[in-house]
């Protein structure tokens, strides 16, 4: 307690700060490269769109099939740059993206970034609360039951396979029917209240909990046989303490990696679950934009979600260092 504040800060695990900066820079460059490739890929895919896009835009604005004059088509082509050579279009696209300009929605005539910004928060809240719930379920099941020689443990690992197989949109439907239609407990049309978050979260968390559970359980059983577990028990540590304090820490690592990858499937699942519960979020706009063939809005959402994925995986790598101090910065 007699340490000065400065000494305490120095004692914090930020010893080689420059190494961390270098690590971060390398990750930032790698992430930027992935994002560049992501945008290039989406550009290539959307440029393959068959048919006259100017006509599509005019029809979308008119709300029905029109027969525009050549001058009208030319005007739209000029406005969106469709008349330019493909290389010029590509460079313009990248240049605008660098300035945070994701284009203007064909359908809603507002900047994509504004539309997404207004709707992305409920989706992120849903995805994040589902991730936490999934971890909670997986850890409880693993700590209590993994590696035990009783029928419950076998039932639990079977249950995890079933959980991992169920599509979130169907779990959502079952929950909706059970709670909202039969029991009338939750509001049917889940608005963004806290209570309206519960059912979508559970629907999204169950399959992920199954996946994480299967992965960490396997590692948990392996770690249970390690010598340090025996030595902890020999020191008189209780069974539950050993499982929670020593074994779990090792077993969660593969689950953490999986969580980074799971960001994509959480977003996919969130879109479906939002659709089930008529919940506000990115899902509604994405589905609407897809059926209207609103290219800038769909590509914008795809690129932004890929950006979130890249960011989440950088965070996962940081989490690794915290959970397992033996891992060195590479």
């Amino acid at each position: 307690m007699s340490m000065t504040l400065a000494a305490r800060i120095r004692a914090l695990p930020f010893g080689g700060a420059s190494r961390h900066v270098a690590w971060f820079l390398r990750r930032a460059i790698g992430g930027a490269a992935v994002l560049w490739a992501v945008t290039t890929f989406t550009f290539v895919v959307q440029s393959l769109m068959p048919g006259d896009r100017a006509l599509l835009i005019i029809n979308m604005a008119a709300g029905n099939i029109t027969n525009p004059s050549q001058a009208e088509i030319d005007a739209v082509n000029a406005k969106y740059g469709f008349a330019d050579p493909i290389a010029v279009q590509y460079l313009n696209y990248l240049w605008r993206l660098l300035h945070g300009d994701f284009g203007v929605s064909y359908q809603l005539h507002r900047p994509v970034i504004e539309i997404v910004g207004a709707q992305i928060l409920p989706t992120i809240v849903l995805a994040f609360s589902a991730l936490l719930t999934a971890w909670f379920i997986a850890i409880v099941m693993t700590v209590v039951l993994a590696g035990r020689a009783n029928p419950w443990a076998r039932f639990a690992s079977g249950l995890q396979i079933v959980m991992a197989t169920m599509p979130p949109y169907w779990i959502g439907t079952i929950l909706l029917v059970t709670f909202a239609v039969f029991l009338r407990i939750f509001p049917v049309e889940g608005k963004n209240s806290l209570i309206g978050l519960v059912l979508p979260t559970v629907a999204l968390a169950i399959p992920l909990a199954g996946f994480i559970g299967l992965v960490i359980q396997q590692e948990f059983v392996r770690v249970l046989e390690q010598p340090f577990v025996t030595s902890s028990r020999a020191r008189g540590m209780g069974d539950f303490g050993v499982r929670l304090r020593h074994v779990l820490r090792h077993a969660v690592l593969p689950g953490v990696t999986l969580s980074g990858w799971a960001v994509g499937s959480l977003f996919s699942g969130a879109v479906l679950v939002e659709s089930v519960f008529a919940r506000q979020g990115i899902g509604g706009i994405l589905v609407g934009a897809t059926s209207a063939r609103d290219v800038p809005l769909v590509t914008g959402i795809v690129v932004i979600s890929a950006g979130i994925y890249v960011l989440a995986n950088v965070l996962v790598d940081r989490a690794y260092l915290i959970i397992d101090p033996r891992i060195k910065l590479a």
Binding site: V34, Y169, S268, G269, V287, V295
Partner: protein, 292 residues
């Protein structure tokens, strides 16, 4: 020197079917799962044998009937029998699932084997490409394809197939790399066997061994994802009894006719789960974890 004095046995690598055919105790759940799969396959091949009613014939005197003996899974807003519609939808749902898996495996096989055998440069390029594809949430990638090419069954197959390919490609690459580094390959190289022959006879059979299991599990997941697209109204068009389309059509009636939403989902989950159970069982057998 004359031709090599030492010859390797004609086939060192096990044949997949030999391994599976070893008789052993088959758990009850595998029998159950196999029965479910057989039922859906029969539905896909000859739906008329298993239907209790026509899947398309409307009966306006019997709309939105709850499940009963005459209508096992109830009826929809046009009086069509839900059970019969699910049976007749099996063909389309399973075809989409199989088609998407076939596409996904072809792409994955090409990329995975090329990365595993192609040396550092090719491997690096393909691995980076796969990293990029991984950054797309699967459904979002599928929706991008639907936006560009318009909703249809073909788009559904392509979207799901390409969306699931990177995961399989990564697994195949890992398998090829580990087979390539194995002792028997080193031995074959030391014996002076030509590389294409080693690839054909040793690396590929061993590396592609888990493919049977991957494909089995993959079909279940492909059906789930494809139905998800249709559930959003972006797959097979409404009159079709494809399972996801049935779910989509039932949404408007959820407060009055829960069976329209629950029953097609039961079909999807029953199929996906059965395929998973059989897949895991095959995996255990192939890895020799079950004693014959």
């Amino acid at each position: 020197m004359s031709s090599s004095a030492v010859t390797l046995p004609r086939r060192v690598s096990p044949r997949i079917w030999d391994t599976i055919a070893i008789s052993g105790r088959i758990p009850l759940r595998v029998y159950l799962a196999a029965t479910v799969i057989a039922f859906f396959l029969a539905s896909a091949i000859a739906p008329q044998l298993l239907q209790s009613h026509s899947a398309f014939k409307m009966d306006l005197r019997a709309t939105l009937q709850p499940p009963s003996f005459s209508h096992l899974f109830g009826t929809d807003q046009a009086g069509r029998d839900t059970y019969s519609r699910i049976v007749s939808g099996a063909r389309q749902s399973l075809s989409i699932g199989l088609g998407a898996t076939a596409l996904s495996m072809t792409v994955a096989l090409f990329l995975g084997v090329a990365a595993g055998l192609g040396g550092r440069l090719v491997d690096g390029a393909i691995s980076r490409f796969l990293d990029v594809l991984f950054a797309f949430p699967m459904l979002f990638l599928a929706l991008l394809f639907v936006t560009v090419f318009g909703p249809s069954v073909t788009t559904q197959i392509i979207a799901v197939g390409l969306g699931t390919a990177p995961g399989y490609a990564r697994m195949i690459r890992g398998q090829v790399l580990s087979a390539r580094g194995a002792g028997y390959v080193e031995a074959a190289v030391a014996l002076g066997h030509p590389f294409p022959k080693i690839v054909r006879r040793h690396i590929l059979p061993n590396a592609l061994h888990p493919l049977v299991v991957m494909m089995t599990l993959g079909v279940g997941q492909a059906v789930v994802w494809a139905s998800g697209l249709a559930f959003l109204g972006l797959g097979a068009a409404p009159p079709s009894p494809e399972w996801g389309a049935l779910l989509d059509a039932g949404r408007d009636y959820i407060t009055r006719a829960w069976w329209l939403e629950v029953m097609p989902g039961v079909a999807i989950v029953a199929f996906a789960l059965s395929v998973t159970v059989v897949g895991h069982h095959l995996q255990d057998r192939l890895e020799g974890r079950i004693d014959a």
